[in-house]
Amino acid sequence: MTEALPDFRLHRPESLEELAALWRAEPQARVFGGGTDIIPNLRRGLVDAPALIELGALPGFADLTLLPDGGLRLGAGLRLADLASETELAGGWRALAEAARAVAGPAHRNAATLGGNLCQDTRCLYYNQSDWWRAANGYCLKYRGDTCHVAPQGSRCRAAFCSDLAPALIALGAEAELAGPGGTRQIALLALYRDDGAAHLALGPGELLVAVHLPAFAGVSGYEKMRVRRGVDFPLAGVGAALAPVAGGWALRVAVSGTDSLPVAITGLPSPLALPLAAAVIEQIDKAVQKQVTPMRSTMVSSHYRRLAAAALARRLVQRLAREAAAA
């Protein structure tokens, strides 16, 4: 039998209590939903784990619940294919469905989960390679090595966080529901991330992302993505944006993925906005994105190109949303 993966124990807990006990007994165990992120990484020798914990049997883990305040609670086990076609996401929250639809290909979306997409490993030209390739290069700071080949003078890993869902959800004001040894807590989704490609998740030991909460949203939202091959690739840049009606006009939120080690929520955007958008405002949004993203040499495509792509996507997306908002 082909031994493609390293050896590990496999667990399938049926409750959060059982999961907690498993994790206490094996703190180095790694959790997964569909496996579309961790299995290729295991295969390439990028994961040291004596045990894997599959989360599919946790009760209610894939539930989608409308909340009394008009918000939505999305279980972390929801499949991306389901999010892409979910009717609750056809209105104001559409950025999430558009982002889910933009992930990889159909077979990935059938297996991949919301939680897995948000907690996926960061990616880099010097990391997502076979073991012999990385060995020949002296490995890298993210795994087994001591130098970041993207920024050799730096002291941290510059691998890029490439979730399509994160920027869409951050633009929609999402919160992450975490369950761990200390109980349950809810934080802004942006606070789930740290600016370090080798340790980009702010989860404590034994802590799990169990759901995402979307607040009620009366505006329009969307997601745009740039990639090498439209069919399958991770984003070179991905932009989520949301336009919500406020006193005196519209409030704009924009977040970017694929450029930094964490999703970037763009700050300092003009507000409130008047529709139709003035050319100077679009220029301001473009400049804000260009200034705040910091793509590095972590892909085959130049960092400058990704910076311009992120800004162009933001400009294109915000103009689309402005047209939709004006027509509504």
Binding site: A4, A104, V232
Partner: protein, 163 residues
């Protein structure tokens, strides 16, 4: 690691086997059940040559642990043709030169088979979007898209004739 007792229904036949937790579904299908139709292409989940159907959904069998398919109903390329011969999709791939070297074809056809159940009358754009996870290095995709559209037309015509 201790082996697990797996029960899978593959192409309508129940199979039981022992497999390690780390075994991928593609390896169990090919090496334990001798179903070598689904191919191993890229081993990084890009190419789709290993595409099989698990409980009514297309999945890349190189990115799924066999244990994750415990109890599932699986269809591989071996299960697509009927007792009367090739399936319309297979016929149309032949008719429209939807293959050259043929390595990607089992995954292409297994995916197209599910796609046409999800959407029996797709547009060209829908075929391209629905087949996007399956890579072909020979054909340039034009004839694959033509074959899937022709198969959709033929399947719909057959359905109408039967009614």
């Amino acid at each position: 690691m201790a082996k697990m007792h797996l029960k899978l229904t593959v192409n309508g036949t129940e199979h039981e086997c022992l497999a390690e937790p780390r075994e991928l579904l593609i390896h169990v299908l090919r090496e334990r059940l001798n179903l070598t139709g689904p191919h191993i292409g890229c081993e990084t989940s890009h190419c789709g040559a290993c595409t099989v159907d698990i409980d009514g959904q297309s999945v890349k069998a190189c990115t799924v642990l066999a244990a994750q398919a415990q109890g599932a109903a699986i269809t591989t390329i071996e299960g697509i043709a009927g007792p009367g011969g090739m399936h319309s999709i297979q016929e149309m791939f032949r008719e429209h030169h939807g293959l050259q070297c043929g390595f990607c074809t089992p995954g292409m056809i297994t995916r197209a088979w599910r796609l046409l159940q999800e959407n029996p009358s797709p547009t060209e754009e829908e075929v391209r979007f629905g087949m996007a996870g399956n890579l072909c290095r020979c054909t340039g995709y034009q004839n694959i898209v033509k074959a899937v559209l022709a198969a959709a037309a033929e399947l719909n015509a057959a359905k109408e004739a039967a009614q």
